[in-house]
């Protein structure tokens, strides 16, 4: 079966790859582009650690048919830091102990970014709702919620 050419924007950079039919975006990002920040968790849409932004909207890359992102912009955790500086969300996650094993962190950060890009000053309930598709088995969620609220607060006062 022939490969399918695919071009899209990956963290602001144009990329061109060849994918097999039916390849999901997570596999394309990790194995063909070498961006290891989105993780494989469940492969079923239940855990959220593969979350990426497609044209600014939160999507699960493991359930996204790779070729549907042709010509679109895909943003992963790898694109979040600005040069040597951590993104305010990453800084807040570190400061508030929001990562333990760290496996959910890429998805949590992308879900948080999707929220703050749209709603810079969310309520606690809105934060809970925003990460409701992301499972964390370590922290009990509270440090993550606090980190996101702190990052939002920082941004508001800046």
């Amino acid at each position: 079966m022939s490969k399918i050419p695919l071009q899209f924007r990956h963290n602001g950079r144009d990329v061109a790859i060849f994918v097999d039919g039916g390849t999901n975006l997570l596999v394309a990002l990790r194995e063909l582009i070498g961006d290891m920040t989105p993780k494989f968790g469940c492969g079923q849409g239940g855990c959220g650690t593969c979350s990426v932004l497609i044209d600014g909207e939160l999507h699960l890359s493991c359930l996204t048919l790779a070729e549907t992102v042709a010509g679109r912009s895909v943003e992963t955790l790898d694109g979040m830091k600005q040069g040597p500086n951590l993104h305010p969300l990453q800084r807040a996650f570190a400061d508030h102990f929001a990562a333990q094993c760290g496996y959910c962190t890429p998805g949590m950060l992308m879900a948080a970014k999707a929220l703050l890009d749209r709603n810079p000053a969310p309520s606690r309930d809105e934060v809970v709702e925003a990460i409701s598709g992301n499972i964390c088995r370590c922290t009990g969620y509270e440090p993550i919620i606090n980190a996101i609220l702190a990052a939002a607060g920082g941004r508001v006062s800046a």
Binding site: D20, G22, G45, E57, H59, L63, S132
Partner: protein, 272 residues
């Protein structure tokens, strides 16, 4: 294993490709079909897609509401005119799943999923499909009863009549995990009131049978009555009649039968 992906600009061409190939599946948001591929489902060898704009159209201006099959739950939630469908749309997944999952795909979501379809069943929706023999409209109940055989048909849109008031349509999903989790059971009730009495009650249940079903016995107890305590009690005690729930990790069949009446009573009496 690589599969063949066929993309069409036009929904009827996609429907043709789907109906002529037994191993073809239509992929909308990907939350069902991509999941099956990730799990190694070898029965799928072709994926059919359509970029037809008609599939993502929303017509919510009049008394009759039509949603293209490819409309996502996030778009339903963004539409002020679709307020009556916000509770069922919000009950689904987390934000990413709502950005991806579609109204048409939800019709095929197996238990414990398919919560939006429970709402559509209570609203007596019409499903517009295209198959090998052209397009036709199917009442949702008929569609669900034959769901196993619908793999070769492409859903184009769903439509329903807007409930007369917020009171007339109610939805409740019971999950163990807050704010999001798979449904133990899902309930929806459409209760049109005519002259102070219920006329044309429809109660729909999710996770109480292999597909979403109507609670006909409970509907009969409501018909022609006003929604008082005695009527609600009668509906609640009839709620489990005709159901055939099964055991899964979220709850046992016994538990589902035990609680369906309790939650129907709460739904009908407007309790949180």
């Amino acid at each position: 294993m690589a599969v063949t992906v066929k993309t069409f600009a036009n929904a009827s061409e996609a429907a043709g490709a789907l109906s002529s190939d037994r191993s073809a599946r239509y992929v909308g948001g990907g939350t069902l079909v991509m999941r099956a591929l990730n799990e190694g489902d070898v029965s799928i060898s072709t994926i059919v897609r359509a970029s037809d704009q008609a599939l993502t159209r929303i017509d919510a201006s009049g008394p009759r509401v039509t949603l293209g099959a490819g409309v996502t739950f996030a778009r339903v939630l963004a539409e002020r005119d679709l307020a009556f469908l916000h509770a069922p749309a919000r009950s689904i997944g987390g934000p990413a799943v709502r950005n991806m999952g579609t109204v048409g795909g939800n019709l095929f979501a197996p238990s414990p999923y398919g919560d939006f379809t429970v709402a559509l069943l209570a609203l007596d929706a019409i499903i517009a499909v295209a198959g090998g023999f052209g397009a036709r409209d199917i009442p949702i109940e008929e569609f669900l009863q034959a769901r196993e055989r619908q793999a070769g048909t492409l859903v184009l849109s769903v439509s329903c009549t807007r409930p007369a008031s917020a009171e007339a349509f109610r939805f409740r999903k019971i999950a163990r995990i807050k704010p999001k989790g798979g449904a133990v059971i899902t309930l929806a009730a459409h209760l049109p009131i005519s002259g102070g009495r219920i006329a044309g009650a429809r109660i729909a249940l999710g996770s109480m049978a292999p597909t979403q079903i109507r609670a006909r016995a409970a509907e009969r107890t409501l018909e022609g009555r006003s929604l008082d305590a005695a009527t609600i009690a009668a509906a609640a005690s009839a709620a489990a009649e005709g159901t055939s729930p099964s055991d899964n990790a979220l709850g046992s069949a016994w538990y589902r039968r035990e609680i369906v009446g309790v939650h129907l009573r709460r739904l009908l009496s407007g309790q949180e």
